[in-house]
Symmetry: C2
Subunit: 202 residues, 2 copies
DNA sequence: CCTGCGATTGACCGACCGGTCAAATCTTGA
DNA sequence: TCAAGATTTGACCGGTCGGTCAATCGCAGG
C-alpha cells in the first residue's frame, strides 16, 4: 500500500496507469496486452513489470483507485439537503463523470460485464452498504412526502444506467444521433433533468 | 448466406453458436478462445473450424443473427397505436429480452463497448435509420399532444439504457440488492412503468 | 573521478493462441 | 454391400502472450 517514493517512480507509475486505462478500457482485461500498454506508455515491457509485478496488478491498481472516485458523488448526497435537488445534483455529477472520464466508465463496465471477478468483494461489501444507506435516506424522504414513492434501489440503478450509457455506449449514441450533433451531453443533461423531475414530483 | 443443409450441420452449427454466445458474452471477443468454445460445445477445435472458417466468422454470425431479434420490438412499435401503451409495450418487451436473453445483451454490450469494430456499419446504417424513423413517429405524437415533449432519440436511449442495465450489470444488481431478493425483474418492471408513465404524461 | 544503487532493456522462456492438414471414422444411397 | 462423400480428430505450426533474467545504463553522493 506504500506510495511511490522517488519522482521517477511517481511519474512512471502514473504513466503506466494512464496507458493501462487506455488499453484496458478499450479491449478488456484479457483483450489487452502488456506490449500494447508498454507502447502507449512509451516504456519497455520489462520496465512495466519493474513497477507492477504483473498485468493483473496493474488492473487491480486501476480499479481500486477508481472505485472511490466513482462512488464519491453518491456519498456526497446530503440527507439534510433538498431531496429533489440532491438527487438531481447526483445525476448531474454522474453525467459529468461519464463525459469527463469515459475510459474509467468503460473499464468499470468491462469488469462488471465479465462478472466482476476482481472487484466482486468490494461490490458486495462497500457498494452494497453505501447503496443501502442511501436507499434508507431516499425512503425517509418518501415517507416525509418530499419525493414520490418509488423503489429506492431501482431509482439508484436508473441513475447509474442512464448516465453511464452515454460513456459506455458512446459509439452507438453518436452513430444513432448522426454526424450532425457532435456533443450529446448538453441535450442528455436536459433530458435527464426532465425525466427525474417528473418521476420524483409529488 | 446459405443455411446448413444436413441435420448434422444444422445441429452442430447451432451448438457452436450457443457455446460461442456463452463464451463470447462472458469474456469478449479477444478474451474468448476457440478451445473454450469447443469445450463448451462438446466438439474438437478443428471440428469448429470445419463449420466456421474462423473465430471471427463465428462472432459475426452471432452478431448478425442477433441484431434483428434485438431491433424487432422497436420495429413493432405501431405508429397508429396508443402512444403511451406502444412505448410501454416496447419497454416491457425490451425488459423481457434482458431477462430471457442476458447473454445476447452482454455480447452486444461487449461489442459496443469496444467501439463496435464488427458492426459499426450496421449501427450507422440500419439502426440509425430505424431510430430516426421511430423518432419521427414520437415527434408526431408530441406534436399531437398525446405524450409529453422530450427529445425523442434520448427517450429511446433511456429505454435501452434502463432495460439493458439489468442484463449487462446483472452481477452488480444482485450484489447491491443483496441475497434477499433473488429476481429483480418484477420490481424493475413496475419501476420502469412508473418512470415512463410519469415522464410521458401530458 | 569513482562507486553504488535505482532504472532500463534485449534476449529469451514456456504456455497458449488461431489455424492447418492428413488421416481416420462415420453416414448415406446406389 | 460398399464406394464416396461428409464428418471428426490428433498432431502440429508459426506467432503472440505474460513474465524472467542477466546485463547495462544513468545519476547522486563522496
Amino acid at each position: 500500500m506504500s506510495k511511490p517514493r522517488t519522482k521517477i517512480q511517481q511519474r512512471n507509475s502514473e504513466t503506466i496507469l494512464d496507458a493501462a486505462l487506455e488499453v484496458f478500457s478499450q479491449h478488456g482485461f484479457r483483450g489487452a496486452t502488456l506490449d500494447q500498454i508498454a507502447e502507449v506508455a512509451g516504456l519497455s515491457k520489462p520496465n512495466l513489470l519493474y513497477y507492477y509485478p504483473s498485468k493483473e496488478a496493474i488492473h487491480v491498481a486501476l480499479l481500486s483507485g477508481l472505485l472511490d472516485t466513482w462512488l464519491d458523488p453518491l456519498r456526497a448526497m446530503d440527507p439534510e439537503g433538498d431531496p429533489v435537488e440532491e438527487l438531481l445534483a447526483y445525476v448531474r455529477r454522474k453525467l459529468e463523470l461519464s463525459r469527463d472520464f469515459p475510459r474509467e466508465s468503460r473499464l468499470f463496465a468491462n469488469e462488471i460485464l465479465q462478472g466482476a471477478p476482481r472487484i466482486r468483494a468490494v461490490i458486495e461489501g462497500d457498494l452494497h452498504a453505501l447503496v443501502q444507506e442511501k436507499a434508507a435516506v431516499l425512503t425517509r424522504w418518501m415517507d416525509e412526502g418530499r419525493i414520490a414513492r418509488v423503489h429506492p434501489v431501482h431509482l439508484i440503478f436508473s441513475i447509474w444506467a442512464l448516465t453511464q450509457h452515454y460513456a459506455d455506449f458512446d459509439v452507438q449514441v453518436h452513430a444513432v444521433l448522426g454526424p450532425g450533433e457532435p456533443d450529446p451531453y448538453p441535450e442528455a443533461g436536459r433530458y435527464l433533468e426532465t425525466l427525474f423531475r417528473r418521476l420524483l414530483a409529488v
